[in-house]
């Protein structure tokens, strides 16, 4: 009886989450919309699995995304956003794709990017206006892709728009209604499964079936961005053996032809690009650091050896050369069969018939 009531009590006390939640996705940041496109590549789980309720433990999800919306556009499409801005749609997760421009540098009339028109005036409504309206009301805020997380390619040196990442815009101490900070999923574009997995965790948290996702100091999911490219790279053994590619014709370590893998936080070589296929250094692409806060400026020119690479690859040279030679000898040895495998009259395998009886 006590056990029973105890169980009941635990259930009643368990944090109860939402049964239904809306995802308001805005891709009107300065982006290429590549994160939305990337998301449709995810198969583990796929976006339709989530929308159709095929993943247990999630709330019912209403996805509002311009690219995938069945609406014809305009006000019809904007209706849920307007509702949320009026505070009449709860709860919702706000997903921002693309970097956020600096409106303050514009003198006079003008907008860097807008999302629909103000119904009263017909004037374009800026992305910044929408973020100001929606972020404080959102249950969670997710930044999809390196543009939205850290500014990315459009925020590179010499850019005219002064754009930045979402957390730069909202303040790094920003907290959504759930208490979660901006959840950053970098990647140019997002690796499809990295994004879906993070979204699913946030949704499970919304449903009350999971704790908040663990984030690092740059607000990235720890389990996805906690290791370096190099640590998961197929070519890392070549590095260790100081065997470096001189151009892109080689399956060896690419550090001398531009790979930044040793110092970049990203799981793509390990995970592949989608369903384990593709990637960067593992399949012949140098790592250009596209998930990093300092992308792209710190990594350009991309096709040159990273400044630290010269030293580290020099230091490892003598060690690598010895190791490679020793391993070569051993490799040679293990590439021969033992002598007892033959079809002569006598059994030489060491088998002792005594034990047979």
């Amino acid at each position: 009886m006590t056990t029973q009531s105890g169980t009941t009590e635990t259930r009643a006390d368990a944090p109860r989450g939402f049964d239904e939640i809306t995802i308001l996705w805005i891709s009107e940041g300065m982006s290429c919309d590549g994160d939305t496109v990337s998301l449709t590549a995810a198969g583990q789980p796929s976006i339709e699995d989530v929308v159709l309720g095929l993943i247990p433990g999630l709330p019912r999800v209403n996805l509002v995304n311009k690219v995938l919306s069945p609406s014809l556009g305009g006000e019809d499409f904007l209706a849920p956003y307007r509702k949320a801005a009026r505070g009449e749609l709860e709860p919702f997760i706000l997903v921002i794709e693309g970097s956020v421009p600096n409106q303050n540098i514009i003198e006079g009339d003008g907008y860097w990017t807008s999302f629909g028109n103000d119904p009263a005036t017909g004037e374009p409504q800026t992305l910044n206006w929408w973020i100001d309206q929606l972020a404080p009301k959102a249950w969670a805020v997710v930044a999809a892709g390196t543009c939205a997380t850290f500014g990315g390619i459009h925020a590179m040196a010499g850019n005219p728009t002064g754009c930045m990442g979402l957390a730069d815009y909202l303040g790094w101490e920003f907290k959504a209604r759930s208490g979660l900070p901006v959840v950053n999923v970098p990647g140019c574009p997002i690796q499809p499964e990295n994004f879906m997995e993070t979204l699913v965790w946030v949704l499970q948290h919304a449903a009350g079936t999971a704790p908040p996702p663990p984030l690092d100091h740059m607000l990235r999911p720890q389990w996805l961005f906690g290791k370096t490219v190099h640590e998961g790279c197929d070519r890392a053994a070549y590095y260790e053996q100081a065997d470096f590619a001189k151009d892109y014709n080689s399956p060896k370590c690419q550090v001398k032809v531009g790979c930044w893998g040793p110092v970049v936080n990203c799981n793509v070589p390990k995970r592949g690009w989608m369903s384990g296929i593709g990637g960067c250094p593992n399949v012949g692409g140098i790592c250009i650091g596209c998930t990093m806060p300092s992308f792209p400026d710190a990594f350009m020119p991309f096709m040159d050896e990273p400044p630290g690479g010269t030293l580290s690859s020099m230091v490892i040279k003598p060690y690598g050369a010895v190791i490679r030679r020793l391993r070569g000898l051993t490799n040679d040895m293990v590439n021969h069969e033992p002598r007892w495998r033959h079809n002569k009259q006598k059994l030489t395998s060491g088998y002792d018939p005594h034990w047979r009886a």
Partner: protein, 597 residues
């Protein structure tokens, strides 16, 4: 149906309503369409297209290492980023004087073929076809849906659906069978892409001078086995699309007028022939014509030229309704091409981008898109070429040139024959795309699945050749080069939705000028200095309205079908920016339910 009667029974006093759709859904990027519709005569009398994004690639690329251009320009577009990288590499290869090894060309072609198959499938079945799906037709033309229920699908033996309405139902978003299958196919084809180019959207293994993709047999086997898994889907898609579009002509007499414009098509060619291409400007006409999609400009149904040098020299970037200062008084970067031909000040090699933010004014300047045009030396016109959404111009140009003759694809002069091998369920099939009577909405959409078949067929040839090279031990995929102090280059390619060119000027080993011209600035361009509207505007303006709803519950499906038939993709309008909006007299924003399940 009723609309046709209204149009033929003489004009009624106009009943004008301003209507706009901003943002347009189911496209990539920020596009707004602003129209005036005459409901009494059921036609669109005016159309302006505008976008609301300025990022300034040509501004922030200045002074950067030219080798970074492909990595940076990939980020112009989130769906065809690889087409930009490829095109940038073509332009760089001309500037550096480097010719990639043959196997690298095959690998690039295979990647691009996978991209065409993937992107067209996702766009047609998951984005465009929603406008033709059961739910949408029910909301806009219930009479047509009723008829579709009674109409047998002529190609049911191929695709398995008994009636036209059953096909429409299969396209319902997120729930329909074809919609869901198309998403799966788009994943398999993206895996094919990743095998060749590493990552999808922004490839990781493409470099100027070649590729870094490791040419191993398994890479090609993995590609081939996936291709064979989707080959029957491709055959079915062509049959389903043909059934639905033929039905629309039948059910709504006069539907050929929707989105129809003068035949003004441009195609810059795709799939290099590795045996011919050397990236030299001097031989560009020869290797251009050897491409497996033939470049060409088609005007009123006739081929004007298929010489890439002519195409290049005719490019003009016009202002007229765009928020820029003219660069006519700047110093030109390039006065003559490498053959000694004069280069116009309005050519991309000489363009300078000087943005001037201002209010949006549909009577004056209303767009940050400039107006690319092609100067016809024969007639002196500045043609607002369109890309037919990509496939229409590609197939048309290739068919007329009659140069492509391969084991799986043959240009016949009047059309293209495409042979796909036996798949799991369907036998070997030869499809034939024929040059249509019109350049209109339905034909732009119809060409798309045929081009999927085209790309799949070409992929088979590239695979066979690449495997052959590999098996004979020829595995070089990258050629080294030096960046010269001073040089120029141009690249011509087809992004999924049409013409793509990159123009590059190098000074002191740095980018002095870089101008990518993707398809959407061509299609989405505003009125130019001569008042010539851009292709979206031209196609929508004057088109009849067939939707059964009146002004109060109007959805604008016919207009949206037209705009989407061009495969709009606004991120590539790299210069785009939208000024402050002007208040419209009667703003009516159409609605379609309020539920986005």
């Amino acid at each position: 149906m009723t609309t046709t009667d209204a149009r033929t029974s003489g004009r009624k006093p106009a009943q004008l309503v301003d209507m706009n759709w901003d943002p347009i859904t189911r496209i990539i990027g920020n596009l707004g369409i602003y129209t005036k519709i005459d409901f009494a005569n059921r036609e669109v009398v005016e159309c302006h297209s505008t976008s609301s994004l300025f990022r300034g690639y040509s501004v922030f690329m200045k002074g950067k290492d030219p080798r970074d251009a492909g990595f940076i320009t990939s980020r112009i577009c989130g769906i065809c980023g690889d087409n930009h990288t490829t095109c940038s590499n073509y332009a760089q290869q001309m500037a550096y004087g480097v010719k990639p090894p043959k196997l690298a060309e095959h690998i690039t072609n295979l990647g691009e073929a996978a991209e065409y198959i993937f992107d067209h499938t996702l766009f047609q079945d998951n984005l465009v076809f929603v406008d033709f799906c059961e739910a949408m037709v029910k909301a806009t033309n219930p009479g047509v849906l009723a008829r579709a229920e009674r109409t047998d699908a002529p190609r049911g033996d191929v695709h398995g659906y008994r009636t036209i309405a059953e096909i429409m139902k299969a396209f319902n978003p997120f729930e329909g069978e074809v919609y869901k299958e198309a998403l799966k196919v788009s994943r398999i084809t993206r895996e094919m892409f990743c095998l060749m180019e590493g990552r999808h959207v922004h490839p990781s293994t493409l470099y100027p001078g070649g590729v870094g993709t490791m040419p191993q047999p398994s890479v090609f086997t993995d590609y081939l086995s996936r291709l064979m898994r989707v080959i029957d889907f491709v055959k079915k898609a062509v049959a389903m699309n043909d059934d639905v579009f033929d039905f629309f002509y039948e059910a709504l007499p006069g539907y050929e007028e929707v989105g129809k414009r003068r035949i003004l098509l441009g195609c810059w060619g795709a799939f290099q022939n590795p045996d011919v291409v050397d990236y030299r400007y001097a031989t560009m006409n020869e290797w251009g014509k050897a491409m497996y999609v033939t470049p060409g400009i088609v005007v009123d149904g006739k081929l004007v030229t298929n010489n890439l040098v002519d195409i290049n020299l005719g490019l003009r970037i016009m202002l007229g309704s765009s928020f820029y200062e003219d660069w006519v008084n700047e110093d030109p970067f390039v006065t003559h091409d490498p053959l000694g031909n004069p280069v116009d000040m309005r050519h991309p090699w000489n363009q300078t981008t000087v943005p001037v933010p201002q209010k949006r004014d549909f009577e004056g300047n209303y767009s940050w898109v400039m107006s690319p045009r092609w100067y016809h030396p024969g007639t002196g016109e500045h043609l607002a070429l369109d890309t037919g959404g990509g496939p229409l111009a590609r197939l048309w140009s290739t068919a007329l040139s009659g140069l492509v003759d391969t084991p799986y694809v043959k240009a016949t002069g009047g059309g293209i024959r495409i042979t796909l091998p036996k798949g799991e369920k369907l036998p070997e099939t030869t499809l034939e795309w024929r040059i249509p009577k019109w350049s209109n909405t339905l034909e732009r959409d119809r060409a798309r699945p045929y081009f999927i078949a085209y790309a799949a067929a070409m992929a088979l040839q590239f695979l066979e050749e690449a495997m052959g090279m590999l098996q004979s031990g020829d595995t070089k995929v990258f050629e080294n080069f030096e960046v010269p102090d001073e040089s120029i280059g141009c690249g011509f390619h087809e992004a999924v939705r049409g013409v793509l060119s990159h123009h590059l000027v190098i000074r002191d080993k740095k980018i002095a000028n870089y101008h990518p011209y993707p398809p959407t600035p061509w299609n989405a361009s505003p009125r130019d200095i001569y008042g010539t509207p851009g292709p979206y505007e031209d196609a929508v303006q004057g088109q009849p309205i067939f939707e059964e709803n009146g002004p109060d519950d109007f959805k604008g499906v016919d207009i949206m079908r037209t705009v989407r038939s061009f495969d709009p993709c606004l991120p590539c309008g790299v210069h785009m920016y939208m000024g402050k909006g002007k208040t419209l007299s009667t703003v009516h924003s159409p609605t379609y339910g309020a539920n986005h399940g």
